[in-house]
């Protein structure tokens, strides 16, 4: 059990944190491990090869369940209480500051690129055009397109090297 926890806890926390945010994260991780342990004890999981896939499935189901619960409770509150409390869904000030910094980095990186490469990135990230469409419109090969994207990302990484510290939000306490 301890070994199971040691192997999966970071990954499970990561998924739950990424999908549901930091609220009640420890409880959610605990629930996932309870479900897995019960399943193993009940003999529902006989093949060790399938353990990783099973853990992933449990995490996915838990995420779906939490989202469903949130939707249900919002719907119920709305029906009962017309003066329901509205949550502020904006990111917290620290997160906003980080996002602003990241945007500045990306702007600096974009400003340093030739016009054509900038156009490629704007089409891809802003207009969400497909790689095929961009390559066709701008007469690029797929390799050139990938290279442009890869170079841009590397340049962004260089500019923000110091800033690319690991986020601690999903790490176990």
């Amino acid at each position: 059990m301890e070994e199971l926890y040691a192997i999966f806890v970071k990954g499970v926390r990561f998924f739950l944190w990424r999908q549901l945010g930091p609220q009640d994260l420890d409880d959610k991780v605990h629930d996932v491990f309870l479900i897995i342990t019960h399943s193993i004890q009940k003999g529902e999981l006989r093949e060790p090869d399938r353990l990783m896939g099973y853990v992933r499935t449990v995490v996915r189901r838990q995420v779906a369940m939490h989202i469903d619960n949130a939707v249900q409770s919002r719907r119920n509150q709305q029906a009962i209480d017309p003066s329901m409390t509205l949550s502020d869904h904006r990111p917290d000030p620290e997160r906003r500051a980080i996002e602003r910094e990241n945007q500045d980095l990306a702007l600096r990186m974009l400003a340093g690129l030739p016009k054509r490469e900038r156009e490629v990135l704007i089409r891809f990230y802003l207009q969400e055009q497909t790689a095929e469409q961009i390559c066709q419109d701008l007469n690029l090969t797929e390799t050139q397109f990938r290279l442009m994207k890869s170079r841009a990302k590397a340049r962004y990484g260089e500019l923000g090297k110091r800033r690319f510290a690991q986020r601690e939000g999903f790490q176990p306490k």
Binding site: F15, R18, A106, L110, Y125, L126, R146, Y156, Q166
Partner: protein
Amino acid sequence: MLQYKIVGFRIMRDIHRHMDEEELEQYSDGAGTPEQTAALETHLLTCEECRNQLLQTDEYVLAMRSAAGHERRAARTREREWSVPTWFPAFAAAACGLLLFVAVRYWQAPSLPAATVDLVAMRGAGTPGAAPAGRALLLHPDLTGLAASPSYRIQVVDQTGREVRQSLMEAARGAVQFTGLRAGVYFVRVYLPGGELLREYGLEVR
């Protein structure tokens, strides 16, 4: 059955392979087939390196979207600010032509020396001093008999008494220069620096 085993093998192989940039971006975007997503997520469960890479990719994609939007808006603003009106080239050409014409005329015009005018008191039957119009004037007022002063204030007024030129003249020099006047009758007045009017001369510019 064989097909099932092959897919299963591919998934198992993918589970232990690190994600490349394209896969990270695809996953971050929520794109990709369910099989690919399953394999990537299973790998992510146990690979810290890929989890960190994914976080960086999430941030990068978000930053790029936001920066690309910003850049596109800024480009539109720049286009609006710098758009040249259709009439501007014709207007600019006409303005340049006019400027060139004035400049040529100015440089070609001969610069004449100032005309010297001796001014005598106009009391009695004296005729006013005469000077050419539009040319610099070097006025020599007759200071004989005036209260001694190191300098005098010289004022030029038109027929209505409106001041048109004014300057300070050193007594030792005995002359003062003014820029050209239009044709007409003027009066040149000499004052002490304190303000006391000493003398007045007539000046006809033609």
